[in-house]
């Protein structure tokens, strides 16, 4: 039973998704989804235990031994990302029942849970698979489910956002598959470990370089690395609140994982980082992402869209670690994958509560709401501190590692830029807090209260996690450091 976990965590959501689509009863589907997400979470925790005690887990799908058969392969980084995805999926479901009822049409709610599980299956699949083409199929499973989830938003702009994402996401995935095709023609294998071995002597060949270029650009589209982020703000802003909380915390993170796996494990540190201009490009684009994202966030009227632009900036912090390319910087990057998911998940959950109680998330409608919804907005303030990187929160931990990593490279100017970017975060988060707490509620506006207990409690668990993980960095930094030493040693093999 225990050694079947790698298959179970992906197969169970897939099967349960079909069951949900048949049953369609919202409460039953919700319960099934919750149980399934929890099974995936428990499975991921067990797999991490296995990896920590006995090295990377390899599972031959259907009994066909790799490299001929499809291999499921999980190293420490993979297990870490799987725990993150399944944990967020479980928490968002506990949180989201009321929000789903408020924002999604009754006859579609069963299908909503089916799509949610399908998306989870795809995201976990990308992380777990050791096969290049299999990763593409899982990527498309998760993406198609995501387009549907986004289009379920009650605003008609959600449809346009979903279409935009569909076009750009498919272009990204197709570019990835073109890259895989080139590498496959060159090496004759799809197994990532085997491919890496076959590629090593012929990395200088034009086909390998073209393949790498296609894969990096395609995945960057999925990651929403500036300037390929155009699909992200509208998709996050107009999707149902539950979907935004889930996607913002997981979807881009999984793509970053795949990108890192290609750069460090398949092409290898010695080639991808040392002999190509990829780090310089990523450095430039990450800094541009941090400033352009934060700066645009300042001018948003819609709070969800503001946080979406802030996500573009935060993705910049994560990719910055790839560019810094030393152990400390990469640790910062991996820690930020987890930390950003926790804090952005918490903030989007709180925003979902606001959307439920007030009906809109426009800044002008939040005037004075802080005093009537104290728990929600106090959580928002703490989440804001974390985004800012105040010591004692998770935001500080990741920025600290990135800054030290930059100093190790002698890039003191980058540290100054990091500090300046925090000021921009102060402006846009401060704006929301100022309006919510220090403006008068307009006369005659309905009296507000905090959202239902399930929503506020789940959000607060994540807010408290932002603070707890800011002090006790044992899990995040510990796992990240192990994963980094594996990555730098040629990684996840």
């Amino acid at each position: 039973m225990l050694d079947q976990f790698p298959a179970i965590v992906v197969a169970v959501p897939l099967i349960a998704s079909a069951i949900c689509a048949i049953i369609r009863h919202q409460t039953v589907c919700w319960l099934i989804a919750l149980i399934v997400c929890f099974i995936s979470f428990v499975g991921s925790v067990f797999i991490l235990g296995d990896v920590q005690s006995g090295g990377p887990v390899s599972y031959a799908m259907g009994g066909w031994a790799p490299p001929v058969g499809i291999e499921l392969r999980i190293d420490e980084l993979g297990a870490y990302v799987m725990i993150l995805v399944s944990l967020i999926a479980t928490a968002v479901l506990i949180y989201g029942r009321q929000s789903v009822k408020a924002e999604i049409r009754e006859d579609l709610r069963g299908y909503f849970y089916a799509m949610y599980l399908l998306c989870l299956c795809g995201l976990l699949g990308i992380v777990i698979t050791g096969d290049a083409f299999n990763a593409f199929v899982f990527m498309e499973i998760s993406s198609l489910a995501m387009y549907t989830l986004i289009a379920l938003g009650h605003d008609r702009r959600a449809l346009a956002a979903s279409f935009q994402y569909l076009i750009m996401g498919t272009v990204g995935a197709t570019m990835y598959v073109i890259g895989v095709g080139l590498l496959f023609t060159l090496t004759g294998t799809l197994n990532l470990v085997d491919m890496s071995d076959q590629l090593a002597p012929q990395l200088a060949s034009p086909a390998a370089i073209a393949g790498m270029a296609f894969i990096v650009v395609g995945l960057s589209l999925k990651v929403a690395l500036f300037p390929l982020h155009l699909w992200l703000p509208n998709a996050y802003a107009f999707a149902p609140s539950v979907v935004t909380s889930f996607l913002a915390a997981t979807a881009t993170k999984v793509s970053i994982y795949l990108l890192m796996r290609y750069l460090y494990s398949v092409f290898g540190f010695g080639f991808a980082i040392e002999q190509t201009p990829i780090p310089e490009m990523v450095l430039l684009l990450s800094v541009a992402a941090i400033f352009a994202g934060s700066f645009t966030a300042i001018f948003q009227e819609n709070v969800k869209r503001m946080l979406a632009y802030s996500s573009v900036a935060q993705i910049g912090y994560i990719t910055l670690g790839i560019a810094i390319a030393n152990a400390t910087g990469l640790t910062g990057s991996l820690v930020h994958i987890f930390n950003h998911a926790v804090m952005k998940g918490a903030l989007f959950m709180l925003i979902g509560g606001i959307a439920l109680q007030i009906g809109t998330v426009r800044l002008s409608d939040l005037a004075g709401a802080g005093r009537q919804m104290p728990l929600t907005f106090f959580g928002f303030v703490l989440g804001g501190f974390s985004m800012l990187g105040v010591p004692g929160t998770v935001g500080f931990v990741s920025k600290w590692y990135l800054a030290i990593g930059a100093l190790e490279n002698g890039w003191w100017w980058l540290v100054i830029l990091l500090m300046l970017s925090s000021l921009l975060v102060l402006v846009y988060m401060g704006r929301v807090i100022e309006i919510a707490f220090f403006r008068e509620r307009p006369a005659g506006a309905p009296v507000l209260s905090d959202p239902p207990k399930a929503m506020i409690m789940t959000s607060w668990v994540f807010i408290l996690a932002c603070i707890y993980l800011g002090f006790d960095t044992g899990f995040t930094v510990g796992v990240a450091q192990d994963a980094v030493s594996a990555l730098l040693a040629g990684g996840g093999r």
């Binding site: 593409f136 498309e140 008609r156 979903s162 569909l166 076009i167 272009v171 009227e301 819609n302």
Partner: protein, 124 residues
């Protein structure tokens, strides 16, 4: 001789030239058209280029389907063909979803021109 070599390069890689042409044509349609149906057509062409990229190098001239029989010794590589079967299914699913969203957009906005949709609405 020089000229012949170049001719051989151009003709020998004719499948790749067609792939490159399809990639560029698809991308150009996606970027340049504002009509959503036309964008999906472009996307279809873009994805089709991949099918050719995988399948054409896998075809062994004179080779048959990989069925073991004493009469044949040369087989085409079946793996890329199977991969592309999967990719075609993915492409069909994407196209179906794209068309479904376009129908819904037409119901809500009364237009499938992206220009109309983005101009008539406040996105901030």
């Amino acid at each position: 001789m020089e000229g012949l070599n170049e001719l051989a390069f151009v003709l020998g890689g004719v499948n790749h030239w067609i792939t490159v042409f399809l990639i560029m044509a698809g991308l150009y349609i996606i970027v340049s058209r504002s009509n959503m149906i036309k964008k999906l057509v472009g996307l279809g062409i873009f994805q089709t280029s991949v099918y050719l990229l995988y399948v054409s190098p896998a075809k062994v001239i004179g080779g048959t389907a990989p069925i073991i029989d004493e009469a044949f010794t040369v087989y085409s590589n079946p793996l890329p063909h199977v991969l592309i079967l999967t990719a075609i299914v993915v492409g069909v699913a994407t196209l179906a979803l794209g068309l479904a969203i376009t129908v819904r957009i037409n119901e809500e906005y009364g237009s499938i021109e992206e220009d109309d949709i983005y101009q008539g609405e406040d996105w901030t």
